[in-house]
Amino acid sequence: MEANVAHVERILAIFFGIVVFFVAVIALRNDWKSQGIENQVFKIMLGLLALGAILGILAALGILIGKGVA
């Protein structure tokens, strides 16, 4: 049972990770030309969000796993 839950979690994470990644990238592209300091910060944030989504996917796939993780 425990393993099944983890399995479902991983699949969900991968699926939604891809969604979040693309949403972030599209938002970034739409925002690309906007001016003003807050928008510059938003762009950095969206880029990092996309990066985070990739990291999440990789973790769920078991490609990137730290030493301390059981």
């Binding site: 839950v5 983890a6 399995h7 979690e9 991983r10 969900l12 994470a13 939604f16 990770g17 969604v19 979040v20 949403v23 972030a24 938002a27 300091i37 807050e38 910060v41 938003f42 944030m45 969206l46 990092l48 969000l49 990066l51 985070g52 989504a53 990291l55 999440g56 996917i57 990789l58 973790a59 769920a60 078991g62 990137l64 796993i65 730290g66 030493k67 301390g68 993780v69 059981a70």
Partner: protein, 202 residues
């Protein structure tokens, strides 16, 4: 008046500068808020430094052994990152003048944030280490706890913003408060990218 003054270069460009008292303009507030975020970032960075320092100081890592659940962490992180995306849409919709869409997206953001928090609670129950058992527990609970408090604060902040927006405090051209809320929420997300990496992926 001396004639020389008028032709002095560098003067022409500065026609209208802030000339008021107690009116905090959008520009000032955003600037100040960004600086607040910088100092908050330093707070997180200090603890991240502490964690990495202890981990690498040759005193026997991992002391107080972590048992982290990578699957839970992955889905939980994606939930939080997703809330960043929904918050982005909320602000975009406000800019385009749609209160209903804005409200929907911000409610979704709040729900996702709450979901993340419950995921964190699950992780806390799941984990073997205690905060006083060793440096892993100390760093993990301090950093994720601090982040969790930021998320909690963010949820309250967004709720207040939603209520204020519903009461008509912001207009479709004057919405500095909403911008700040979005900035804050993004900040909380992005910090989690770092924390997720150093605790689960390193």
């Amino acid at each position: 008046m001396a004639v020389a003054t008028v032709t002095h270069p560098g003067f022409a460009g500065h026609a209208e500068e802030p000339d008021q008292l107690y009116v905090e303009t959008r520009e000032l507030r955003i600037q100040g808020f960004l600086l607040f975020m910088v100092s908050d970032l330093v707070l997180f960075s200090s603890f991240i430094f502490a964690y990495l320092y202890l981990r690498n100081s040759g005193q026997g890592w991992p002391a107080g052994g972590p048992k982290l659940d990578i699957a839970l962490a992955a889905i939980n992180s994606i939930v939080l990152f997703g809330s960043g995306a929904t918050m982005h849409f909320a602000l975009e919709n406000w800019k385009h003048g749609s209160f209903t869409k804005f409200a929907n997206w911000i409610v979704m953001t709040i729900i996702l944030g709450a979901g993340f928090l419950s995921g964190q609670v699950l992780e806390y129950i799941h984990i073997g280490a205690r905060w006083d058992s060793g440096i892993f527990g100390a760093s993990f609970y301090t950093l994720t706890g601090m982040h969790g408090l930021h998320v909690l604060g963010g949820i309250i902040y967004l709720t207040v913003l939603l209520l204020q927006a519903a009461q008509g405090k912001y207009t479709y051209t004057k919405y500095t408060g909403l911008t700040l809320g979005t900035l804050y929420w993004h900040f909380v997300d992005v910090i989690w990218v770092v924390l997720f990496s150093i605790f689960y992926l390193l």
